[in-house]
């Protein structure tokens, strides 16, 4: 090797060379004198090269750095930026701070889920479940005619109640002491019959009026107190006298007329309509049954008629004066029409039952909605 030859010649004297080194240096020097001449030459060439070296001026470096700055080379992420710190390019993957931090975060999350500090969440899985089991039944073709009339009446009454709900209080207060008696309540009056009717009454009131609560009813409800008293008394005594029935009927009628005394013509219309309906539905039975009158023209039934009568009360008490009277007349006409559609009283009663069932479903639905509203309002 040439490099080795030069190094050997520079480093060693001729007598220090081994046989292999002598063979190697024989290319440059075969004798000791030639070896010494070559050694002297190489050493002086090295000295001459070192002596001829110059130092670059500081101006040169400045010029080159200016060129570097002027180049405006597009740069990637700076080494002093956050990205440069998190993702250094000169480190291995596992030594990059971003990777290390993500690994630490993953370990912490795994530890949290393993320890499960929120244990017990699975024990009550139904906390946030809100199930609605109500299903809307499509009305049959036979019920459509009744429902059409009914819906029309409900829409009218609900609108009236929503417009002036406060008038109900005044009407109820003013209604006391006024009476219009068209039909007497007998001992089998369905209005006073069962506890279920009371529960249904509450539900219906809540659902139809919308703005009413039990507390407000108690505060306002002179009529409610009277009705409850009637029920208590009738249940306790078992003797339902005509006077008591008349007084309850009076209160109901007063409410239905918005607390205003009905006119004589209205009294006649009401009495004639009720008599006609009674004849058509019950035939010519000897015993005269007392019943409360409802807007939909259906004879009163135990429990259910109480709902209807109370609905009538709420809706009618929202009206004042001529508006209320005109709506009553319309309702009477509709009532009469719906009754006239049926020839047989039994058929009418069957349809009436299905209608009442539908009404109860609607009332329950509306009551559930109102309960939700009330719940969120209170909350």
């Amino acid at each position: 090797m040439t490099a080795n030859v030069e190094d050997i010649i520079k480093a060693k004297a001729y007598f220090e060379l081994s046989p292999e080194e002598l063979e190697t240096v024989s290319e440059y020097a075969k004798t000791e004198e030639e070896y010494e001449d070559m050694k002297w030459f190489l050493l002086n060439v090295g000295e001459a090269a070192a002596a001829s070296k110059i130092e670059a001026s500081s101006d040169l470096k400045g010029r080159v750095m200016n060129t570097l700055a002027a180049s405006a080379q597009p740069k990637s992420a700076g080494t002093n930026s956050a990205t440069g710190f998190l993702f250094p390019k000169d480190k291995q993957f596992y030594r990059k701070p971003a990777v290390q931090m993500m690994a630490a975060a993953a370990l912490i999350l795994i530890a949290i889920f393993l320890i499960d500090p929120f244990g017990g969440m699975d024990e009550n899985p139904d906390l946030a479940v809100n199930e609605v089991d109500q299903e809307q039944k499509e009305p049959s073709v036979e019920e459509e005619s009744i429902l059409r009339v009914e819906n029309r009446l409900e829409n009218e009454t609900i609108e009236d109640v929503d417009e002036k709900p406060i008038v109900t209080e005044d009407a109820l207060l003013n209604a006391e002491g006024r009476s219009i008696v068209e039909e007497e309540l007998d001992e089998n009056s369905p209005f006073l019959e069962s506890e279920d009717s009371e529960a249904d009454d509450e539900t219906y009131y809540f659902g139809s009026a919308g703005h009413y609560t039990e507390a407000s009813n108690e505060e306002q409800g002179i009529r409610f107190d009277t009705e409850a008293d009637l029920r208590d008394k009738s249940n306790a005594d078992g003797d339902k006298t005509a006077e008591r029935n008349q007084s309850s009927a009076k209160s109901l009628k007063n409410v239905s007329t918005g607390g205003m005394p009905p006119k004589e013509s209205e009294k006649k219309d009401l009495s004639s309509a009720s008599n006609d309906r009674y004849k058509k539905t019950n035939g010519t039975k000897g015993k005269k049954k007392s019943s409360t009158r409802s807007y939909d023209g259906v004879p009163s039934q135990p429990g259910k008629d109480a709902d209807v009568s109370k609905k009538e009360e709420v809706t009618s008490t929202a009206d004042i004066g001529d508006v209320k009277i005109s709506s009553n007349q319309q309702e009477k006409n509709l009532e009469q029409q719906s009754v006239d559609q049926f020839d047989d009283a039994s058929e009418y009663e069957g349809l009436n039952k299905s209608k009442e069932e539908k009404r109860q479903e609607n009332v329950s639905i509306s009551s559930s909605k109102e309960l939700k509203k009330l719940f969120y309002t209170v909350k």
């Binding site: 030459f41 090269a49 001829s52 060129t67």
Partner: protein, 195 residues
């Protein structure tokens, strides 16, 4: 912040160039610091010992790297690539000077119009060894001269010389042996006078 800073002195030339290609200017500064004097001396010896021209060529060399750092092939040695570029620049300059010499009156630096042969008494002067060496180097063939200068002045190994000149290592070895033998025979006279 000291912990976050890179110690560029620990990186190789090739790694620093990779950093510079990715936008790290400090890597380039480190490379420049390593080869500034090498290149100035290389151009100084190759370009007729003209310091100004040597610095200009050095500036041009690094300006080329700044302008197009991707021209460096990372699979190669940066040192040999740099010397190769510098050697090509010198060859281009030789060609320019040859054209100018034939078409103009001015003589390029390093070329002397007068007879450079010294008298016998001056030839034996110890202080004239370096000058005599330069004269004999100029008389050598370019191929032998550049190999000799790269080996003894720039300190490159035979392999590096082969990569710089893009020739075979055996060729480098033979050229170096020839140049050394010729120069040694012509300069050995100084040894006898100095003794």
């Amino acid at each position: 912040m000291q912990l976050l800073e890179k110690d560029y002195s620990t990186y190789s030339d090739e790694e620093l160039m990779r950093f510079y290609v990715e936008g790290d200017d400090r890597a380039f500064q480190e490379v420049y610091g390593r080869y500034e004097n090498f290149m100035v001396n290389f151009f100084y010896r190759k370009l007729w010992s003209n310091r100004i021209k040597a610095e200009d060529f050095t500036h041009d060399l690094f300006a080329k790297i700044i302008a197009k750092p991707t021209s460096f092939d990372p699979s190669r040695s940066f040192k040999t690539w740099l010397f190769s570029v510098a050697n090509n620049m010198c060859k281009n300059e030789y060609k320019k000077q040859e054209v100018r010499k034939n078409t103009a009156y001015d003589v390029p630096e390093g070329y002397e119009a007068k007879d450079t042969r010294m008298s016998a008494d001056k030839e034996v002067d110890k202080g004239n060894f370096k000058e005599k060496l330069n004269q004999e180097l100029k008389k050598l063939n370019e191929k032998h001269r550049e190999v000799f200068m790269l080996r003894h002045f720039e300190g490159l190994s035979l392999k590096e010389i082969a990569e710089t000149l893009e020739i075979n290592t055996g060729t480098v070895k033979s050229r170096l042996h020839h140049a050394t033998k010729v120069l040694a025979e012509k300069l050995v006279i100084f040894r006898k006078t100095m003794l």
